[in-house]
Structure formats: C-alpha cells, structure tokens
Symmetry: C2
Subunit: 203 residues, 2 copies
C-alpha cells in the first residue's frame, strides 16, 4: 500500500482549510450530539458538537470541548448561566438539519432548523424531541487548556431518556439500534454497522 | 416510542457493571485507537483507548484520557518517560486482536496480540504496521480532572502516515475509506457507512 507522510514542519505550511480538514478527521469517528441550552430568560439555543467524550461512569461524567472563538458560543454562556445542558443524539432522518445548527442565527436554532424543544421536570435545559437518546447534564468543572485556549466543560449526568429495548440486560446502551450516527472531520456523517460485542479480555 | 428514563438517584443504586456499560455507551460512537509506546529501555507497549478527541488543528493537538487505575497504565508512564506515543487506527481484520491488548500481559502486547512494531525516523514510539492511519505524537500537556482523578494527556502531532488516495483535495482524511472502525461502550465495534459530507452551514 502506498502511503502519504506529513511531518511536523508540513503543518505550519499547509493552507488553513486543508490543515483543518485533515486534523479534524485524524483521530477517528466522533461522538456527535446536538447540545441544548437556554439562557436565564428561557431563550433556547441548539448547536452541533463533536468534541464530546466519556470521562467516567461513577459518578457519570461526560466532557465537551468548546472553542472560545467558535460559532456556538451561546452554548457555553448559557450552560454556565443556568448550570444545565443536554446532549441529544443525531438520527439519519435529520443530520442535515443538525449540521445546519452550526450557522449563525438571530433566532433559536430550534426554530430556525426545525427542532422541537422538550422539557423535563429534572432540569431547565431543553431536549430535542426528535432525538432518541437524550442526556441531561449539570455543569461541574471547567478547564482552560493552556496550549490553545480551548475550554473543556465537564458535566454530571442527571437524566437519561432512551428508547425501550435499547438497554441490554448488562446495561449496554445500543446506540446503533437507537439510530445514533457518528461523524468524521467537520462535515462528514456516517451510520454504523456492528461487528460484534467482545468479551472482557483476559491473557 | 416507549422510553426508559434514568434519573440521578438511580445511578448510585445501579449494579456497578450495569452502570459502567450504560454510561460508557451514552455519549456516542468513539475514536478508538491502538496507542503505541516504549519505555526508555525500548520495551514496547500497545493498548486500546477510546477516550480520544480532537482538540485543535493549529497546532495539531489530540487529547486522550487515561484512568490512573486502569489496566493500560504503562502507556502513561512510557509516554511521560520518552515524551512520545502513537495512535494507530483499527481495521475490521484485527479488531479482536486490538481488543485483546486490554488484557494484562507480562510481555509486550505487540507480541502477545500479534502486532508488528514499526519505527519512523521522527520519534522513538512504535507504530502498528497493520494499521493504515498512524499518528506520531509528542506529549505537551497534562491535566488531572479534579472530579474523578482521570488524567487528560494532550499530544502535538509530529507525523501522519496514511494511505495514498484517502486525503481529499481539501485535506479531508477519509478514514472510512482507510478502513477505520469505531466503537461504542466498552466492547462493541462498528464499521461505518458514509451518508454525506455537507457544505459549511450558512443561515
């Protein structure tokens, strides 16, 4: 197999968009979610994020990176203001509308992109009615990464809403069965096909 | 659609493995990679990690979470000792062997699980010859997350090796074409099927 090699000195010389596309896709498929927030006045906001990662199960914690200079900056100010936010999975039926939430709108992206806000009794942040896996989070910790100013936000899970029949007896949540898609880079969306679940590895 | 709801008080009451499986799968499909390291004596180590995420493109930075109490702790000590490590994508042909690197071995997981170490002139960490997308990283920053003691390691990309024909004209790296798979939860592996790349969103 013929290969292409990029070494460190190449990165600074690359055209900006080329570098952005290359590096964003590099580390693998990503956990893409619609992040729902509201400000203290109840104005809702919805934005697609893919820098989301599992941190720990006990307590249940999920991390998210927010670029201070990126479009969906209302997400950060809202979640800091109210203390709550939601993650909502993306289904093949509406991935184009989900991607569209990254545009700059003067009105709520729920309205602009055709999503329906849905509220629970457990916290004030809006869920996306159209999603099948919905996670309510309480803001717990924030780090600024010294090297590029990115903000890492850590949330504690306060609620999980998912389809009946997608939680296995051992707790495994079958997000493929729930319809979740994944993304790669800045703009590529993918469905999945399970190979297998493997048993706990022993020597 | 009938739904299942878990609220915060439920988590503490859950059986440990049930909670671990549920929460690990919750936030979406993950960037799963084999992480290659060597200690100062050249003894290699290989371990599968899925808490990996894009941080920024300029400079090119990738984050990884390491649980201090987890099996592949040699990864952390090795990369701190030498300053370098590699990410190697996982192909459908060897995902079972990749998963097997999470078992505790007295010898190198390269040998125990049937992988071939491969070295470059740019840094001392071992790549996986069998992978098609290989990333060399230099350790640059470490954060301990106060809330659960997880270690976040940030690496700066020093080298990218990928198949010819997988880099689009605009820089997009087609990891699906390169054969990369994704994972969900602790033990489920999935291939992908691209829906589309979407244009930059404008209102």
């Amino acid at each position: 197999m013929h290969t292409v090699i990029f070494a460190e000195p190449d990165f600074a010389r690359m055209e900006k968009q080329f570098r952005t596309n290359l590096i964003n896709a590099l580390s693998g498929f990503k956990s893409v979610n619609l992040v729902g927030t509201a400000n203290a006045q109840g104005m809702t906001n919805l934005a697609v994020f893919s820098q989301i990662f599992h941190i720990g199960a006990n307590p249940p914690l999920i991390g998210m990176l927010v670029r201070p200079d990126s479009v969906p900056r209302h997400t950060l100010s809202n979640l800091l203001e109210t203390g709550f936010y939601t993650f909502n999975n993306i289904l093949p039926e509406f991935y184009q509308a989900a991607h569209q939430t990254s545009a700059r709108y003067a009105v709520s992206e729920f309205e602009a992109c055709g999503f329906t806000p849905e509220f629970s009794q457990h916290h004030p942040a809006p869920y996306v009615r159209e999603s099948s896996v919905k996670i309510g989070l309480r803001f717990v910790e924030k780090h600024e990464l010294a090297i590029n100013g990115t903000i890492m936000v850590i949330g504690s899970v306060v609620e999980i809403i998912c389809p009946e029949g997608c939680v296995a007896e051992d707790g495994y949540l079958d997000i493929e069965k729930a319809g979740s898609i994944t993304c790669s880079g800045l703009d590529s969306y993918h469905t999945t096909q399970q190979l297998a679940r493997l048993p706990y590895a022993k020597p």
